[in-house]
Symmetry: C2
């Protein structure tokens, strides 16, 4: 935030799912430059403990800020946002935005019944971060860990009968739980950056289970990008907006850069370019 501003926004995820957030950011901030780090050597965070996730996320944030000059950080990982946002804010000296609060705010703006459902990883659900953020906005919610969905997306079974059946099982259990609690949910929050790739499957199964206007899908990635863009623009760009050049992206990964380059474009919707390997000592 100084006169020598590097003008870079840092985006962090445990893997490359967070590229769905970067995709939404690119659309909203076409003049900004981005550095993205996927901590692929230590993924998945979703099945690990708070202590371990906090350490990994803080190290990753420090790499983006101290070594890559990021002046604004978007934590594009639900698990890290849910369990390590405070640890990240302590570790670096720039503004930090996670995905939980924007996701919950978007759910609150959408829900008429004030009953929402959240699906996420094991660790995100166990943290109850979404439940707390929803409660703070007057919403009642049910949450469910869906640990099979990330591997299904990474296997490339996006539009596949097995994936549809798994989604059907998970969503039916979640709806049953909500109804047993006397709730009438009208909103489903996608609390994991892999899930937007399955959005058409969720929408198809929700129509089957709740009718054509039963439940609307809210994507935390999209909500977070909107909030990040608002923060950047309302403060005059934080020095983060470029001079009209094409958007520039530099991606880093702690392991498997070939896999990142191969699968990343599926999430980003365009080629990720050359991914640089970085060693965070893990």
């Amino acid at each position: 935030m100084t006169a020598t501003s590097s003008g870079v926004i840092g985006v962090f995820d445990s893997g490359f799912g967070g590229l769905t957030v970067l995709k939404a950011l690119l659309a909203r901030l076409p003049e900004a430059r981005f550095v993205f780090l996927g901590d692929t050597a230590r993924l998945p965070y979703g099945s690990k403990s708070r202590r371990t996730i906090a350490r990994y996320a803080a190290e990753s944030a420090q790499f983006l800020v101290n070594e890559q000059g990021a002046e604004f950080l978007v934590i594009a990982c639900n698990t890290a946002s849910a369990l390590a946002l405070d640890a990240i804010k302590e570790a670096v000296d720039v503004p930090v935005l996670g995905v939980i609060e924007p996701g919950a705010a978007a759910a609150a703006a959408n829900s008429l019944t004030k009953n929402v459902m959240v699906i996420a990883t094991e660790a995100t659900v166990a943290s109850h971060a979404y439940a707390a953020a929803c409660r703070a906005r007057g919403l009642h919610g049910v949450e469910k860990a869906c640990p099979l969905l990330v591997p299904l997306v990474e296997e490339g079974w996006i539009d596949h009968p097995v994936t549809e059946e798994v989604v059907r099982i998970y969503l039916k259990e979640l709806l049953d739980e909500a109804r047993q609690n006397g709730q009438n949910p009208d909103t489903l929050v996608l609390g994991c950056t892999h899930y937007p790739l399955l959005r058409p499957v969720f929408e198809r199964v929700l129509v089957e289970l709740t009718g054509p206007s039963g439940v609307r899908v809210i994507d935390s990635a999209e909500a977070t990008a909107a909030e990040a863009a608002r923060l950047v623009l309302e403060t005059g760009g934080f020095g983060l907006l470029g001079d009209g050049e094409a958007p520039r992206i530099q991606c880093f990964a702690t392991d498997s850069v070939e896999k990142f380059e191969r699968l990343g474009s599926r999430f980003l919707g365009l080629p990720v370019g050359k991914v640089e390997l970085v060693d965070l000592g893990g």
Copy 2:
């Protein structure tokens, strides 16, 4: 191997799947003592690079030998055996047995057609370690990565229609590939320590696809335990056999000891006891 022998066998896995190997070892060496390490903070290894897997596995082996006094190491992780056995042997000064060679030897002993199929993680298949070990024994084989099976086992969907359908899809693709190569496989090697929990599913689907005596399932965990017991017993026990006390197990994990304690018994077939948390600096 000295007069002050600690009498402990070290068993290592990236997670707790290797407890299926420990289970087989307990049955074969009822008087031995075991230390087990699951590197749960850094799992899964199966999707990571050779460089990273070698570093993690060497650090884990050093913990078992240097800090826990293991005098014989069983690498109960197919991925580490496939990609890091040399790195582990360089890192420690005790005999080391991986799961690949015993698995391939058992396949060779079973196969009449000399055509085998191997299923494993992404990294194990990419290493072609099973293919090389099979070729050295005059076998021809096809291999397939089955990345959805570990998450399905960990979700507890052991006897579940979705799991059966996923197994059917994977095995059908593998059989088709073998037949296109003009092969007639009669043996399926389970090249991942999670897979023995799905053995009834594999057997049911194989009967459906190849008839009642079409393909026999070989479990690398079982083959490795048999080879480890042979090595220990043929050398007079290596000082590793106790004085007739009940078998003793001490389990360590680098993360999520509660999850280890909760799920571990599913793999071990008996309670894993209190799991100690250890920090390998990753």
